[in-house]
């Protein structure tokens, strides 16, 4: 059974919806800048990919109760899921509809503000109940009235990519007909400091795949796709934006946070995804790399890409210089970017690349490429716990998203 994408939604540092994200991508405008909302002692000297809307602005746009307890993760999630669901033109009434969402930060953005007070005083508020990872998923479910099936995945930075895989499998196994899949993570002091202790945070604009890369910029985002079965699409005589052609999840089984020296798990994920899509490596036109900008990731992912594609190396780039590393949301955000690439027949550049990594033979695309034939895109998302995921999106000829 074939799985199609009929709706997309995204909010990130480069835009509050898909169209704004696209415009930033083609005008090569990075969203990495000084913090406006998150309060951290590192805000003075470190840049981040923070979304431009405040919590209150999102509450207003979503027409939510101003006195409700909404974490920033939930607000980002609802904003992007709403766009995806409405743009698909679906309702949740006509068939078995579900939601699968990924998150790692969950409600930590609020929990870290109140933790001390919760523990050491009588203080209490509604954010006690929003800490759990399920919270943002259930908020989306209730907002969009999608209650037939819901679950949340947390596999670190591959969470939303795995939500896409799980959603597709729910349809293929006959559990659901339609499923909203993706993920959301807000910035939090917890993750900022965590990545800082690992010494993989670049204080300035990150430079993925550059010889002198110093680390990643942390970002926040939410992005969702609406997946539907081929049968449902035919029945409703509707058009698709792209096809989810293949996928694979593997484990590097090397170290809790670092990749193996040759990126074996990444190699396995990519090769199994190509096989799952019933394609050959030569069919892949472009790779949206995980490319976080850390010395370890870019080198090992690069080696794994070289090993798999060898002499049939497709074009590749990392879009993380635009958005920062948006953790659980990265997989679905870059899935949205991949779907835009397929529809607009463009390849987004790997910004701020200057010098070749000496151990690698491959070089990312540094300029926007327009009017190029892109049929199949491979998108990578790798996370802590050795979790490696590759997704393959393919062009369908019956539709173009047009932005003027």
């Amino acid at each position: 059974m074939r799985i199609f994408i009929t709706g997309i939604g995204a909010i990130s540092a480069i835009g509050n919806n898909v169209e704004e994200n696209y415009n930033s991508l083609i005008s090569q405008k990075s969203g990495i800048k000084k913090l406006k909302y998150l309060e951290t002692t590192h805000s003075k000297d470190t840049l981040f990919g923070e979304c431009s809307l405040s919590d209150n602005e999102m509450i207003e746009l979503l027409e939510l109760d101003k006195n409700g307890f909404y974490t920033r993760t939930a607000l980002l999630a609802m904003t992007a899921a709403k766009e995806a669901f409405y743009s698909s033109g679906c309702t949740s009434e006509d068939c078995r509809t579900g939601i699968v969402s990924g998150t790692t930060v969950a409600g930590m953005g609020q929990s870290e503000k109140f933790y001390d007070k919760y523990l050491n005083s009588d203080f209490s508020n509604g954010y006690i109940n929003t800490h759990e990872a399920a919270d943002s998923t259930e908020k989306i479910a209730e907002y969009l009235n999608i209650t037939d099936y819901m679950t949340t995945i947390s596999t670190a930075c591959s969470s939303s990519a795995n939500a896409i895989i799980y959603g597709a499998r729910l349809i293929k196994n006959g559990v659901l007909d339609r499923v909203v899949v993706g993920g959301a993570d807000s910035l939090s002091r917890f993750t900022v400091n965590g990545f800082k202790t690992l010494m993989i945070l670049d204080k300035q604009q990150c430079k993925p795949y550059d010889r002198d890369r110093k680390g990643l910029n942390l970002g926040e985002a939410a992005a969702y796709l609406v997946l539907e079965s081929e049968d449902l699409l035919k029945k409703n005589n509707r058009l698709a934006l792209a096809e989810l052609k293949g996928y694979a999840n593997t484990n590097d089984a090397y170290h809790q946070t670092a990749s193996s020296p040759d990126g074996y798990g990444a190699f396995l994920a990519m090769s199994q995804a190509v096989k799952n899509a019933k394609l050959k490596t030569a069919d892949i036109d472009y790779i949206n790399a995980h490319g976080t900008g850390t010395p370890n990731n870019d080198l090992t992912e690069g080696l794994a890409i070289q090993r798999l594609f060898d002499k049939e190396m497709p074009l590749f780039s990392s879009t993380k210089a635009f958005t920062g590393h948006t953790l659980a949301a990265a997989g679905s955000l870059e899935a949205v970017f991949s779907i835009l690439s397929l529809n607009q027949q463009v390849i987004f550049p790997n910004m701020f690349f200057e010098n070749q990594i000496e151990e690698l033979e491959i070089t990312p695309e540094t300029k926007l490429i327009e009017n190029i034939k892109v049929n199949n895109i491979l998108s990578n998302s790798f996370g802590f716990g050795g979790n490696d995921t590759s997704l393959i999106f393919s062009r369908v000829d019956n539709l173009n998203i047009k932005f003027d």
Partner: protein, 353 residues
């Protein structure tokens, strides 16, 4: 396709690593919540590993190892774990240091360990398992989703799947979460749980792991038939209908069920659902409870699942799980119904053959 449970091990506040020992007597707990009985960590971990890993990770690694050994599986084709909260203890450690030190002079160990998927990741690392590795974190749908994932893996052609339910309770987490008014706020004797009709659930923890396969083997515990989840039902009738429909779907009547496992948590308001079902649907059934043994937590159904598989395999149950004096002669079909504060509801069906 049939799905068999060929390995089932649980680390819990009871003697659950050995079912026969478990049946002998109930382990009493009189603290604020039920705490898992520590296995002998020295047998399984180097001292440096044992120090680095939190109890939910250590207990899970041990339960997973035993479940795979029982099923004679060296390398699972997929690992799927459900955990409502992930690694709470390491999350708290990092958070506390971050607040105390005003975001300065922090070390990465507890941050690295705090990721929700550390349990599944550490199991893969120990086994050098490069296969599918998922972690579900959806409150009381976490284990249910991991099980769904495992079932789909088997249908997709895989042979052996490791599936787990793992949560830990900590003092700090308990102190915070009790402020939402849903928990027992004073120390409590677990075996008294159903004596009083008062407010608040008794909480706890457990780590239960299962080896699932499409193959029926000599070591098979039970057959897994089906699981269904539903979210925030609007009425008691909707709950009852869901259970009736589930049974009808499998051509069963309540009289076909040899053992019913219900999940009253000690919170009398939300437990009323179970007591009503006992009067309306299961009045002639052998009805059992389990949360006085392990407490309430997001993946408590993992322990109920362990209890069901063992009751079927050994065809026996301890006296302390039921208020009824009658026991079934043969435990063939077991139905589990559980809900978490009326939010996440799930039904499971297991069978001998």
């Amino acid at each position: 396709m049939n799905i068999y449970i060929n390995g089932a091990k649980s680390v819990s506040p009871q003697n659950s690593l050995d079912y026969n020992l478990f049946c002998e007597n109930v382990i009493e707990h009189n603290g604020k919540f039920a705490t898992a009985i520590k296995p002998n960590y020295k047998q399984h971990f180097k001292p440096i590993e044992a120090r680095r890993m939190s109890k939910v990770v250590k207990n899970s690694v041990i339960a997973a190892k035993f479940a795979l050994e029982e099923a004679k599986v060296e390398m699972p084709d997929a690992i799927s774990v459900g955990t409502g909260l992930g690694i709470v203890s390491d999350t708290e450690k990092f958070l506390q240091k971050m607040i105390d030190n005003n975001e300065q002079f922090l070390t990465p160990t507890s941050f690295i360990q705090s990721t929700h998927n550390t349990v599944a990741g550490q199991i893969a690392l120990g086994l050098k398992c490069h296969n599918h590795n998922f972690t579900f974190v959806h409150r009381a749908f976490s284990f249910e989703s991991a099980l769904q994932d495992a079932v789909m893996q088997l249908r997709e052609g895989k042979s052996n799947i490791l599936v787990g339910a793992a949560d830990e309770m900590t003092d700090h987490y308990y102190d915070i979460i009790k402020k939402n008014g849903l928990l027992k706020t004073e120390p409590f004797l677990n075996t008294d749980l159903y004596k009083y009709k008062n407010k608040g659930a008794y909480c706890g923890e457990a780590q239960s792991f299962f080896a699932l396969s499409s193959e029926n083997k000599p070591e098979t515990y039970a057959k897994f038939i089906d699981n269904k989840t539903f979210y925030k039902p609007k009425s008691y009738d909707e709950i009852k209908t869901n259970i009736e429909d589930f049974l009808t779907h499998h051509n069963l009547q309540t009289s076909d069920i040899d053992m019913v496992i219900l999940g009253p948590s000690g919170d009398y308001d939300s437990d009323k659902v179970y007591y009503s079902l006992q009067n309306d649907l299961f009045m002639s059934n052998y009805v059992t409870y389990y949360k006085h043994l392990v407490g309430e937590f997001h993946t408590a159904t993992g322990f109920a699942f362990w209890l069901a598989t063992n009751a079927i395999k050994f065809n026996k149950t301890p006296d302390f799980i039921s208020l009824l004096n009658i026991k079934p002669k043969k435990i063939n079909k077991v139905l589990i119904y559980n809900h978490y504060f009326n939010i996440n509801h799930s039904i499971f069906l297991l069978s001998k053959d």
